[in-house]
């Protein structure tokens, strides 16, 4: 039952395993004291603004129970907004509000929530129901992204986002996460969203991963996943490359959403990005990480790093590896 041939083939193809990622990249390049910068989305937002990157506007922050009653004031002039936990994981606890009806808020899914239900949800966020390890948390109320129609044919409700793995400031691999009916509109691979690989040189989508297998059509819209051009791809690469200076985390994942009017925005950062991105791209991460490690001395400037990505990690290069 043990297939050591497979073991060797994976090694040869440069596939990165969980132990490898943790022992040789996360533990080596990510210092623990920098983790709060990515775990707390409020801090991430501040850093991104400081670095000049676009982020969804922060409408308000609820940090203690007493502030819950001020929620209607915070959103009184807003039709659309998002409520989410600052230290939430896996997209849990996020409510997207798209307009009102009567005195109630209407969610993206179409259901109605009154002020009491919203107050209970905020209390849940504060008590840490959605945070990693259950510590007390803060609730963020922010701008609701009007997503770019580029992925309309490949999305079942929800907002698709683009995950880019950045190693020592070099974008090494990327995928776009497309919500499905099974994932209930969430761009979360664990919940059934699909992830389409991206040609790092051109920003063109490749085939996608669902669970642990490769697919080429969206399970709900039946459209072909590969061959979609992501607009402004070089801008996204530059955003990703700059994120290294923001957090000083050597190995991180950056999640970017495309807004119809305001272009790409940083949604959040992740200090331990998942490994399924390799299946989406049908390529191993390790090969690319080693290439960056070998050339790290020549990759100090953002422009050089972006150029390195475009030259080295295009789809044809990846296939050849």
């Amino acid at each position: 039952m043990l297939d050591f041939g497979l073991w060797k083939r994976l090694r040869d193809n440069g596939v990165l395993g969980l132990n490898d990622r943790n022992a040789n990249f996360v533990l080596v390049y990510n210092q623990r004291r920098n983790y709060p910068l990515v775990d707390d989305k409020v801090l991430t937002k501040e850093l991104a603004i400081k670095a000049g990157a676009a982020v969804p506007d922060l409408y308000g922050l609820i940090e203690i129970q007493q502030q819950v009653s001020s929620f209607p004031d915070i959103v009184k002039d807003r039709e659309n907004f998002v409520v989410k936990p600052a230290e939430g994981s896996q997209g849990e606890g996020i409510i997207v509000i798209k307009g009102r009806s009567g005195g109630m808020y209407r969610t993206a899914g179409g259901s109605l929530i009154d002020d009491n239900q919203m107050a209970f949800h905020l209390s849940n966020i504060l008590s840490g129901v959605f945070s990693l390890g259950g510590q007390p948390d803060k609730a963020i109320i922010e701008y609701c992204v009007e997503f770019d129609p580029v992925f309309e044919a490949l999305t079942y409700r929800g907002v698709p986002d683009i995950r880019i793995i950045v190693f020592l400031g070099v974008p090494v691999m990327a995928m776009v996460r497309l919500p499905t009916r099974q994932s209930d509109g969430k761009a979360n691979l664990h919940q059934g969203a699909i992830g389409a690989g991206i040609d790092m040189a051109t920003g063109m989508t490749l085939t996608a991963v669902k669970g642990n297998s490769v697919v080429d059509t969206h399970p709900d819209t039946f459209n072909k996943v590969s061959g979609t051009q992501i607009p402004n791809w070089p801008v996204l690469l530059e955003m990703a490359a700059r994120s290294y200076e923001m957090t000083n985390l050597g190995y991180q994942g950056i999640d970017i959403v495309l807004d119809r009017d305001r272009g790409p925005m940083i949604l959040e950062l992740n200090a331990r990005p998942g490994l399924n991105i390799q299946i989406a791209n049908r390529a191993g991460l390790r090969t690319r990480l080693e290439a960056v490690e070998k050339n790290r001395d020549g990759l100090k400037k953002v422009e050089d790093r972006v150029a390195f990505t475009i030259a080295q990690f295009g789809a044809h290069e990846a296939r050849a590896a």
Partner: protein, 511 residues
């Protein structure tokens, strides 16, 4: 560079472990496998007394060499109390005394007992018929009740064996309101049956005595005494066990004291608590260690787990296997890639299995978990905040356990009683984690992780329960340094987890 450091550290740890291990194995001749030890037992009595400030005296019946059992050595820890020993009837009695004492005092008695492996033939030299110290203490109504039973039995008895059976039948199944019931009222339980039985036999003219003994079995932290009868026939004392109605007692039952007295008599104290514990003595008391008089070696034995009180030793025998379970857990998680709830939860569950035994443990674990999950999903509907919700789960888990214990006791399986030893908080966290995984990743993933946790628990239990593992970590605790070294090395393993292979299969190409 950090790798070199790590290899050096593990090398040193392994080297130290190997040196101590080999020294103990070859120079001190510690046994390598559990089978090699002689049948030697350490028995310990710990008496806790609460004194009032005045004079106090505590008398303890101590075991003597009898039958297959030889008392090799004994020691008393008196903590400033005086000690005298004397023979009282059939018994040997140690008396601790003090003129002025206040507060709580712990008095220890320790003995090393050797059990002959072959069952000894009946004593060759016929001893004379013993003098029974007192024929009976019964008077008035009790005496006439006793006579009623004995008279009926002697009328039907053909010999001493049938006499015993007839008398004991009356005591084992007393008719309500009958004379046997009357005699047992003041002296109930198996102890009463043995004591009253011996008394009745004496009235019937057969020299007999009640025996209070201890079963020498591994790991008895709070051992309870067993009671049987000995009668004098064919020039020797013969056993009779009222529980089985047989003229033999289990070979591991060591007689401790005789007659109607209690184990401990205390005077001038307000509270007395006695704990008797037994464990197998690994330490070569007989052939090797006793003959060794060099100070270094003596200190080495003294300054080890064997120097601890027996009760604590039993705890450590359990505790010292935990690192082995943990090492296994690291292998299963980081090399195989099994997913479990909580990092060390499976090891704790495995510890609980030791008390409940495997099959029962699995059944109880599954029942508690499934009821708990049901309750947790119901609580979800009530929209409770995190901490109170967790608290509710803990409370429910405690109640489920109490209910299961009562139910299984009523149904006659006493195994269920040990469910209480399950780590309650760990179980509650497991329930919480499982519902969250269920919600976020679906039932399939939740069951996968629950199954993974159970498999790991069972494997840890099986490994931690291997006699050779228990023996090695207890007799050679330095093997834990090897376990530590192995765990350190595993900490730098960065190869694939075996379960990642199928996950990444599509990336393997078709070469």
């Amino acid at each position: 560079m950090s790798k070199k450091h790590l290899y050096m550290l593990t090398g040193i740890l392994a080297g130290v472990a190997a040196l101590v291990f080999l020294y103990k194995l070859f120079l001190l001749e510690f046994p390598l496998t559990p089978g090699e030890k002689t049948e030697t037992w350490r028995v310990e009595t710990r008496i806790l007394v609460q004194t009032t400030g005045g004079a106090a005296k505590v008398a303890l019946n101590i075991p003597q060499t009898a039958g297959n059992f030889t008392v090799i050595s004994q020691s008393f820890v008196t903590g400033g109390w005086g000690l005298t020993t004397a023979t009282e009837g059939f018994n040997r009695q140690a008396t601790y005394s003090i003129n002025k004492a206040e507060g709580e005092h712990a008095l220890y008695y320790r003995a090393v007992v050797h059990r002959a492996k072959t069952v000894r033939p009946p004593p060759g030299a016929r001893s004379e018929e013993p003098e029974i110290p007192e024929k009976t203490s019964y008077v008035d109504a009790e005496l006439s009740a006793a006579r009623t039973i004995v008279r009926a039995a002697t009328r039907e008895a053909a010999d001493s064996q049938t006499l015993i059976r007839l008398v004991m039948k009356q005591l084992n199944t007393p008719t309500p309101e009958g004379p046997a019931q009357f005699l047992l009222q003041k002296n109930p339980g198996s102890r009463g049956i043995a004591e009253v039985g011996a008394e009745l036999l004496r009235i019937g003219g057969l020299p007999a005595r009640a025996v209070h003994g201890l079963a020498l079995k591994p790991d008895r932290r709070n051992a309870r005494f067993e009671h049987w009868i000995e009668f004098f026939a064919d020039g020797g004392w013969q056993p009779y066990d009222p529980k089985t109605d047989k003229f033999e007692v289990p070979a591991d039952s060591m007689p401790w004291w005789y007659g109607r007295t209690r184990l401990v008599h205390a005077f001038g104290t307000t509270k007395t608590e006695t704990i008797v514990s037994v464990r197998e003595a690994f330490e070569f008391t007989l052939r090797t260690a006793l003959s060794r008089t060099r100070d270094l070696e003596k200190n080495l034995i003294d300054f080890s787990v064997f120097g601890l009180p027996l009760q604590t030793q039993a705890v450590y025998q359990l505790l010292l296997t935990v690192p082995v379970g943990i090492l296994l857990l690291v292998v299963l998680r980081n090399i195989i890639g099994v997913k479990t709830f909580g990092t060390f939860m499976p090891v704790l569950i495995a510890l609980a299995f030791r008390q409940t035994e495997l099959v029962w443990g699995l059944i109880l674990f599954s029942i508690v978990l499934s009821i708990g999950i049901g309750v947790r999903f119901y609580l979800e509907k009530l929209k409770l905040l995190l901490v109170p919700r967790l608290a509710c789960v803990v409370i429910v888990v405690v109640m489920i356990m109490a209910f299961l214990s009562i139910l299984s006791h009523k149904l006659g399986f006493d195994r269920g009683l040990s469910v209480a030893l399950f780590p309650i908080v760990i179980l509650s966290m497991t329930i919480e984690r499982m519902t969250i995984v269920w919600d976020e990743r679906g039932a399939q993933e939740a069951f996968k992780q629950a199954f993974g946790s159970l498999v790991v628990s069972v494997l840890c239990y099986l490994v931690m329960n291997l006699p050779i593992v228990q023996h090695l970590v207890f007799v050679f605790p330095e093997t834990l340094l090897l376990v530590l070294a192995g765990t350190l090395l595993l900490g730098r393993y960065s190869g694939y987890r075996l379960l990642e292979l199928p996950r990444f299969r599509v990336l393997g190409g078709s070469r």
